[in-house]
């Protein structure tokens, strides 16, 4: 009885933010995702781990709308978004970062952030008023940069930044829109240890009103940022555990951690 009550409490605590049901994705005969179900609560921090080729990035692309699933449904706060294109999902509060940092390299850092800030406002269609008139966007962008001590590079071209800083800017761009769900595809991949700490700290420190789902190879990042971990293996969900109990899961030890943890 107590367990049932506890489950009810958990439901009451958090509205479901993201829900996947029966998501499958086939490329020809290749089953990349096979009947994946996933439920992420409002404000939750979720890690998705799994060996290479487990289908993690494909799953992200299905959630973000870049790939249509072969079958199954994607819900955001109860709304079926399975058929919506990526830009419509962004309007509903879904933001993401890419596996390889994807910014607008020929624009300045501030311009990148301004593009994010104006994306969901009618200002984006304003074509006869100079951008300099919209001081609010610039000030907000500078404020965001200040949070990660990057104001001094506000007017640098993005490509002049280091890898770690670019990754921080990408995450800032995603967060600037105050999304309800942030998808992070290997946020520390390719970063030096010091840069990885910068990024992890930034994620940890962020307000709790945004749910984050992150794919990561570096387990220390996962353990630092998330509460629950979903393990994907050959396109199937094989385990879902809290960070504390994941070490003891025999399936996880077997397939992913190689028994070393």
């Amino acid at each position: 009885m107590t367990t049932v009550a506890a489950l009810h409490d958990a439901d009451a605590l958090g509205e479901t933010c993201l829900q996947l049901s029966g998501i499958s994705k086939r490329f020809g005969n290749l089953h990349v995702l096979d009947d994946v179900a996933l439920s992420v609560r409002h404000g939750e921090r979720r890690g998705i781990i799994g060996p290479n080729g487990a289908g993690k990035t494909t799953l992200f692309n299905v959630i973000a709308g870049e790939l249509a699933p072969t079958s199954g449904k994607v819900y955001l706060y109860g709304r079926d978004i399975t058929r919506l294109p990526p830009h419509s999902r962004a309007k509903l509060g879904l933001a993401r970062t890419f596996q390889t940092t994807t910014l607008l390299p020929g624009l300045t850092v501030v311009e990148n952030l301004v593009l994010s800030l104006q994306a969901l406002t009618p200002t984006r269609f304003q074509c006869f008023v100079p951008r300099t008139r919209y001081r609010g966007f610039r000030e907000e962008a500078l404020r965001l940069l200040g949070q990660v001590q990057l104001e001094h590079c506000a007017d640098w071209l993005v490509r002049a930044l280091g890898h770690g800083e670019q990754r921080q800017v990408e995450i800032l761009m995603a967060l600037a829109q105050r999304p309800k769900l942030l998808l992070l595809d290997e946020p520390t991949a390719g970063l030096s240890a010091a840069d990885a700490v910068l990024v992890t700290d930034m994620l940890r420190a962020y307000r709790r009103d945004v749910a984050m789902v992150l794919i990561e190879h570096d387990l220390s990042v996962v353990f630092n940022v998330v509460e629950r971990i979903t393990v994907l293996h050959y396109g199937r969900v094989v385990a879902e555990e809290t960070v504390e109990s994941i070490h003891d899961n025999p399936v996880v030890q077997e397939i992913y951690l190689g028994g070393t943890l």
Binding site: A90, A95, L107, V114, L115, A119, C127, R131, M173
Partner: protein, 338 residues
């Protein structure tokens, strides 16, 4: 001197020069070449909005130029539609509608596919002009309509038409500069750089490209209207693949994504082709060599080359200043920490 001031002074001097040209006693020939430059300049800038800012290499810009020209000719000769402003408005509107239809087709594909489809669509309009003889006069084109006076511009004399074209150029350039500096313009550049990122931010990349195609088509029609009045003749050559390629070369020669570069490119092409054709029949060959050299040594066009040289000179000056001051630390190289 601060940069905006310096720019304002340069623009002022150029404007005074441009206005003075017909009164400097130059041969009428040069005035007419400059008139052509202003007209082709509008067309080249409209294409630059697509190629340089939005990242769409469209091969159908001549179609909208031609539509503008044929609206003037067909309107005047078949429908007694001769007033300037209604004609201009009709040309812009029709070009916009055709651009809306063509854009919907062309934007179903990207990159090479987009190039091929726009090329094919341009050929459709050319085919219409060439073969619908009862309407377009076919290969013979249309004559028998005259320039009309527009407000203060007495277009029947060449200097009057020069001023009309210059005014049109200034209006179009101003509008386009405003556009690329607006929030909308930033979206176009973003869509050029990383469409995936823009979609993830919530931008309907397709819609912005579509709007850019329509807007560019409308500007091209303005150039086409002027071109028809200037020649008092319209033929299928104005919307042929030849014209499309020529305009594309103006844009690349001058420097994509700069607006002023394509205007410069238009001037170079107009003057060079006239000067060279005086000297030799094989002038196209020499023009070809100029393109090859440009692409090899100034891939960002003339404006890009000038910018690069100026940046080099500036950094050399800063380096010597820094060496003179012999103080380290505060020197920003522009490279972030690795």
């Amino acid at each position: 001197m601060s940069r905006p001031w310096r720019n304002a002074i340069v623009i002022g001097i150029l404007l005074v020069l441009a206005i003075a040209v017909p009164r400097l006693g130059l041969p009428a020939f040069y005035v007419s070449l400059l008139t052509q430059t202003w007209i082709y300049g509008i067309l080249a800038m409209s294409l630059d909005l697509l190629v340089g800012f939005t990242g769409l290499v469209s091969f159908m810009q001549a179609a909208f130029f031609g539509i503008g020209a044929y609206v003037v000719a067909i309107g005047a000769t078949r429908y007694h539609f001769v007033d300037f402003w209604p004609t201009l408005l009709a040309a812009i509107l029709i070009a916009g509608l055709v651009a809306a239809a063509f854009g919907a087709l062309a934007l179903r594909s990207e990159d090479e596919g987009f190039i091929i489809i726009t090329l094919a669509l341009n050929e459709i309009i050319w085919g219409l002009a060439y073969q619908w003889v009862s309407m377009s006069g076919g290969d013979n084109g249309i004559t028998g309509f005259l320039r009309v006076n527009v407000g203060p511009f007495h277009t029947t004399d060449n200097s009057g038409f020069y001023y009309l074209s210059l005014a049109a150029l200034i209006v179009c350039l101003t509008l386009l500069v405003l556009m690329v500096r607006s929030p909308f313009g930033l979206v176009l550049v973003g869509a050029r750089e990383r469409p995936r990122r823009m979609a993830a931010l919530g931008y309907n990349v397709w819609l912005f490209r579509y709007l850019a195609l329509i807007i560019a088509g409308m500007f091209a029609a303005v150039a086409g209207v002027l071109f028809a009045y200037y020649n008092e003749f319209v033929g299928p050559g104005s919307l042929s693949l030849d014209t499309t390629v020529q305009v594309l070369i103006m844009v690349i020669l001058g420097g994509t994504g700069t607006l002023i570069g394509p205007l410069l490119g238009a001037g170079i092409l107009v003057f060079l082709s006239n000067a060279l054709s005086d000297i030799t029949q094989r002038w196209v060959l020499i023009l070809g060599a100029v393109y090859v050299v440009t692409v090899m040594y100034a891939p960002d066009g003339i404006v890009g080359l000038v910018n690069r040289l100026m940046a080099k000179a500036r950094s050399r000056r800063e380096l010597s200043l820094a060496a003179g001051a012999a103080v380290g630390g505060a020197f920003h190289s522009g490279e972030g920490p690795k």
